[in-house]
């Protein structure tokens, strides 16, 4: 099975964000692979490994990482390779600086199609820097394949179908989808492995194809930004929470609170 995992290089979310006008400053800051994408890479690796060891279908196939970003985004691709992915594709082009989610989906779909036949594309539900959450669905549309969003568990993958559990507000849906397809995975779908020492050293030797926009037969017009950020404001500070002094009624008050929040 050929699996493509989309990975994004983002400014380290553990460091204070720096702005470049109304967009996030991306160059010259310490970056990391989006922590959400680690789940995607792990999901891809697990499916490949499961097929390699298990039932019926042969383990042939590869996990390919596809990323769009500045040259520094190579670090995110390497990170995925050191976890165990087989190869990478990085689309870098000055024209793409400041791209919106629509243009990104267009570029990623072109890169995925250029990479060859695929059975499954995996992405995170949303990025940890932009949080639009629109990319996986848009990507599926461009690729002309079905999309299953917010996958919290991959039940099985064989015989051209994928069975997954899909997170909903009050439980989960069991979904079977014919391949090829795009899925977006939540944090919690698995526990991403560390990149081991051997993995890090092996990543050095794995192939990464670097593409520009023209390699994908796309022009600047195709990826023109259609979205404008008109205003930025700080998120409201979280309020300090309510402190309940225990005068004998605290337990009841907490139970009421939890009931109101529909937790119990």
């Amino acid at each position: 099975m050929n699996i493509v995992v989309c990975v994004k290089h983002i400014p380290d979310p553990n460091l204070p964000a720096e702005m470049d006008g109304k967009t996030l400053k991306r160059e010259g800051v310490q970056g990391v692979m989006d922590p959400g994408d680690e789940f995607g890479v792990e999901a891809g690796l697990q499916i490949k490994e499961r097929l390699a060891t298990g039932d019926g279908e042969s383990g042939e196939g590869e996990v390919t990482l596809v990323s769009m970003g500045p040259a520094a985004a190579m670090e995110a691709v390497r990170r995925g390779l050191s976890m165990g992915a087989d190869k990478g594709v990085l689309v870098s082009d000055d024209v793409l600086k400041g791209s919106d989610a629509l243009a990104t989906a267009k570029v990623l779909s072109a890169a995925i199609q250029k990479n060859g036949a695929f059975d499954l594309v995996i992405a995170g539900v949303e990025s940890t820097d932009g949080y639009t959450g629109t990319l996986p669905g848009t990507l599926a549309e461009f690729l002309g394949v079905p999309h299953v969003s917010t996958v919290k568990e991959i039940v099985s993958a064989d015989g051209g179908t994928l069975k997954v559990n899909r997170q909903t507000a009050d439980g989960y849906h069991v979904v079977e989808v014919g391949l090829p397809a795009v899925i977006s995975v939540t944090a919690g779908v698995n526990e991403p492995r560390y990149a081991s020492f051997k993995g890090i050293m092996a990543a050095k030797k794995k192939p990464v194809e670097q593409l520009s926009l023209s390699d994908l037969d796309l022009s600047g017009d195709d990826v023109a930004v259609k979205q404008e950020v008109t205003e930025l404001s700080k998120a409201e500070e979280r309020e300090g929470g309510e402190i309940i002094e225990d005068d004998g009624s605290a337990a009841a008050k907490i139970a009421d609170f939890l009931k109101e929040a529909k937790v119990i």
Partner: protein, 379 residues
């Protein structure tokens, strides 16, 4: 702020990040319980093996990582910032493996070194004795040749993970008094007559077991003698040069951890209507602490770079061990001070760091001995 990794090469940066993830997600949180229970964190050592971190500076044909010592030390520093006892265990293990890689026969490398680099086995180092610490060449444990074996007898003290280790590098006397009568042996766990006889109760490093080891007519095959008879002290000193860099990196790691806590605490704690760190007196302390850490880091990395370039680095290793561990003691003490009363209670981690830093000034040659080594090599 953890160590600045921007100027490292791609692999080093990826390695530090991987170790940092493991350290923050597992080693650091688990360390609290292991320290409280004075229990050796065996599962974490196994995890180090799984991650491929037990043989980083050794040749690939021996199952190692084939990396320069400088790269290995980045890992030690990062681990030490999260869990010093674990970093010390790795450092002692590496010291033992180093000796075999440097002085071992083909068979010893195959049978022992390769198990160590794979992390199937862990190593320890037994030089100190009740009557010989700083004056290590005065050791009195004996090894007497008996056919194809040696019979070892005597007592070793302060052996880190001595009873947990699968193989211990033991120094014992085969000849005349003084350094030239000493030989070194690889003694395996389970050798009859050999084992830990008392586990010390310590001020810090509580989850790094420190053992008194007894050698009671323990039979060790002659094929497990490392280097020629009479060359044991050379093995011991070379290992210590290398090991001291590991201790220096540990010092910087624990100092960094203490500094990070102090910076955070003084920024959050308010007195007189403003954060404590708004006071110049506090800022000057933070300035000195961060400068000492950065200077120490450059010093040990310089010594490591000399080592990696194949140059003599004994002097610089002693300077690095001295400076980095003295800095660790000062920085951790100041970190407690900057926490006020909160620094003195175990709910905050800085009192632990202060206890941990103390031992770094003592092991692998006290800091008085480092000054002695430096002075002697300068004059």
């Amino acid at each position: 702020m953890p160590q600045d990794i921007r100027l490292l090469d791609d692999e080093q940066r990826a390695l530090v990040q991987m170790v940092r993830e493991f350290a923050t997600a597992e080693a650091k949180p688990l360390s609290i319980d292991y320290e409280a229970r004075s229990e050796d964190p065996k599962p974490l050592y196994d995890k180090l093996a799984e991650l491929g971190l037990t043989g980083v500076p050794f040749p690939e044909e021996r199952g190692g990582g084939g990396q320069p010592y400088s790269t290995y030390l980045l890992i030690v520093e990062e681990l030490a910032a999260a869990y010093l006892a674990l970093a010390i265990g790795l450092s002692v293990h590496t010291l033992c493996a180093f000796a075999i890689n440097e002085f071992g026969t083909e068979d010893q490398k195959k049978d022992v070194l390769e198990k160590l680099t794979a992390g199937e086995w862990f190593g320890a180092y037994a030089l100190s004795e009740p009557g010989s610490g700083s004056d290590a060449a005065a050791l009195t444990s004996k090894a007497v040749r008996d056919g194809d074996s040696y019979r070892l007898s005597g007592t070793k003290v302060f052996c880190t993970r001595g009873d947990e280790a699968d193989v211990v590098l033991v120094l014992a006397r085969t000849g005349e008094a003084g350094p030239k009568g000493i030989s070194s042996f690889l003694v395996e766990k389970g050798t009859p007559g050999f084992g830990g006889s008392k586990k010390e109760d310590k001020m810090g490093w509580r989850s790094s077991p420190t053992w008194m080891m007894s050698l009671d007519d323990a039979e060790v095959p002659a094929s497990r003698r490392l280097a020629d008879e009479g060359n044991g002290f050379k093995v011991a000193l070379a290992s210590l040069d290398s090991g001291r860099l590991g201790i220096a990196a540990c010092g910087i790691g624990v100092a960094q951890a203490a500094f990070d806590e102090a910076l955070k605490f003084t920024g959050e704690r308010e007195q007189f209507g403003k954060p404590v760190s708004a006071n110049e007196g506090v800022q000057f302390m933070l300035a000195d602490m961060s400068t000492a850490i950065e200077a120490g880091r450059r010093l040990y990395r310089h010594a490591a770079a000399l080592r990696d370039a194949g140059l003599n680095y004994s002097l610089q290793a002693a300077q690095a061990k001295l400076f980095c561990t003295d800095a660790a003691m000062r920085v951790t003490t100041d970190a407690v001070q900057l926490h006020g009363g909160y620094g003195y209670i175990t709910e905050y981690p800085v009192e632990r760091y202060m206890r941990e830093a103390k031992a770094l000034q003592i092991v692998e040659g006290t800091n008085q001995i480092q000054r002695y080594v430096i002075g002697r090599s300068l004059t």
